[in-house]
Amino acid sequence: MDLLEYQAKQLFYEMGIPVLPSQQIDHPKDLKGLKIPYPVVLKSQVYTGGRGKAGGIRFVENTIDAVAAAQTIFNLPITGMYPAVLLAEAKYDADRELYLAVILDWSARRPLLLGSQRGGVDVEATIGAMQQVVVDQEFSPFYARRLALKMGLQGELIRSVSAILEKMYQLFLQKDLDLVEINPLAVSSAGELMALDGKITANDDALGRHPDLATLQEKIPHQIKTKMLPRDLADTTLVELEGNIGILCNGAGLTMTTLDLVHKAGGRPASFLNLGSEYRHNNSPEVLRDRIQRGLELMMQSKNLKVVLVNTLGNVMLCRQTAEAIATHLQHQAGSRVVPFVVRLVGDQFDEARQMLQALNLPLFHDLDEAIAEAISLSK
C-alpha cells in the first residue's frame, strides 16, 4: 500500500526526521484558518509522480489566491485520480537536493540503502548518480555512513545525512515497509536538512499487524480508470481484458498458463480471476466456495463475456467444492443472462463433480487443451 505524501510526512515527523510546518486541507475553506505564514505551497495528495507538471502543486501568497488554487487542485484529476486532501506547506529555499531511500532487495533478501547527490525531479540524473549499500547483517549506523561516503558527501553532512538514514531505517523496520524514500532531501545554505517530499510503501502482507497504517488507506483516492491492478488479486478481484472468454483459476502460475494457452489457441480472454493459492493457512472448503461464487458474480458483469472457462487443480475435495460453487452460482443466476461454462477439473472426487455438473448440462473436462478448444469454439 502506497501512502500519500502527508501521511508519509506524519510518520517522518514522529520518527524525528525534519519536515516543514504543514497543514492538512480537506476543503478549500480550511485555508481561512491556515496557521502557516504565507507564501505557502499547496500540493495535491494523489499517489503518482508528475504532480507538478500536471498542475497539482501551486505557490500562493494570500488567502484569496489560496482558496481559488485549492478549488482548482481539488477538481484536477491527475492520471484519473482526484485528491481527497491537499497539503499546505511552508516554502523552503534549498541549496542542494539529495535522494535517499531504504528498500528491500528481494533477491539478495537484504535491505538496501540508496542515495544520490542528484535528488529532485530529474529521475535520470538521480539514478545516474545512485549509490547503494547492502545491509547484510544486523543494522548499525556505520552502514548509513558507508552510503554517505559513497555518495561523496563531506564534512558535517556525513553525520547529518547518516542520522536521517538511520531514522528511515528504523521506520522501515518498525512499520514493515517495502520502501521509504525522501526525494528531495533539501540541504539549506546553512547545512540544515529538510525532507521536502516523501514516499512510503507499506507491505500489504504485514498490514494486519499495523492497524495504524491500515486505517490510512481510507484517505487514499481510488483511480477511476486504471491499468494498474489491485495488489491482492487473490481476494477475488477481476481483471478485465478486451476479449470474450472469462477465465477462473486457482494460483497465479496456473492462471497465467491458462491465459497463455488461450492466447496461443487463438482465443481472447475477456477477464481473468485468480482464486488464490492453496497455502493460506485458514483455507477451508467454505472459503473456497465463497471465493468462487464471488468471482463468478464479478465476472458476469462484463458485457463482452461469451463463455466462462474454469480451471482449478489441487488437493482435497477441490473438484467437488468447485462443482458445488458453480451449481449454486447457476441457481442464483436462474432467469438472468445465461453464459455457457466450460469446466476443467483434476483431482479427488472428479466423478462426483462430473455427476453434479452433468445434471446441469455442463461439460466437464480432464484435459486442459480440450477444455480450451471447447471454450474458444463457444466464444466464436
Binding site: G49, A101, I103, L104, W106, S107, R109, P111, V123, I127, M130, Q137, L173, D176, L179, T201, N203, D204, D205, A206, G208, R209, K227, L229, R231, L233, A234, V239, C249, N250, G251, A252, G253, L254, T255, M256, T257, L259, D260, L261, H263, K264, F272, N274, G276, S277, E278, Y279, R280, H281, N282, N283, S284, L313, G314, N315, V316, V346, G347, D348
Partner: protein, 295 residues
Amino acid sequence: MVQGITEPLGSIYAPLMQVYGGQILAGISPGHGGQHLEGIPVFDLVEQALLSVGAVDTSVIFVPPYQVLDAALEAIAAGIRQLVLVTEGVPPMDMMRLCRVAEASETLVVGPNCPGIIVPGQILLGTHPAEFYTPGTVGLVSRCGTLTYEVARELSQAGFGQSIALGIGSDRIIGSTFQQWLQILDEDEQTEAIVLVGKIGSDSEEVAARYIIEAIDKPVVAYIAGRTLPQSQYIGHAGAVVSSQVAGLRDEIGTAESKISALRQAKVPIAECLSQLPDLLKQVLKGSPKTSAKS
C-alpha cells in the same frame, strides 16, 4: 514434524503426508499438547517433542503467517535443519530475519507460500496431490504452486516420472533459491534431467540462468508462465510483481522476454506450452528417457 498441526491446513495435510509414507513423528500446537491427530502425538513445544520422539529431520510449518518466523526459529533452536514453510503471506521483514538465521545455522528453508517437496513413491513434505506424481528421473523445481501439479501431471502422463519435485515458493523473499535446488538436483544420482518452471516477475529465473551456465552439467528444460500477459499487469500474490520500486532502476528485469533470453543464453530449451515439455525432455535425453518406474 508438523508445526501448526491443528491449523486448518495442517490438519488436512498432516494425515495425507502420513499416508504417503513419510513418518510424522510429532505435531506441534501450543495448548493441544497430549492430544493425538490421526495417531500423530501433539506437543506444545518443539524441544518437548524431540525429547519424546528423538531427532527430527524436517519440520513442515502450517502456522498463521505472523507466527511463521517464531515457529521456524523454534525449530532451528531445537536443532532441526530442514524447514518447509507452506503458509502464504509471511511479511518480508520476518523472512529477512529468518534467512539470516538460516544462513548462519546452515538450515535449508523451503518456501514460504509453497507446496513443499515430494519424492514420488517415498515421501511428501507439503501439499502436492500424490496422484499427479510418479517415481522417475526428472527433477522438477518450480516457483509456482498449482502449476507445479499441472506440470507433474503432464510429465507423468508422458512417462516422465520425477526424482524430486518441489515448489520453492511464490513470495518475493523465499528461503532456498532456484540455484540451491539446481545444485542439489545436479548432484542427485536419481536425477537425469531438470525441469525448471518459472513465471514473470522478480529476477529469479534470470539469476538461475546465469547459475546454469556456471555450475549445472545435467540438461535443463524450462517453462515460463505469463508470456502473453501485458507487462503492466500481474497476477495474484506479490511474487509476480515486477519489482521496479525505484523508477527505472530495474524495470528491464522480470518480463517474459528477459527470462526467455537469459535462459536461451544458458542453452536451456524453453517449452512454449506445457505439452511441449516431454518432447524437449526427450530431445535433451537423446530420445531415450529412462522412466524407471520403481513403484
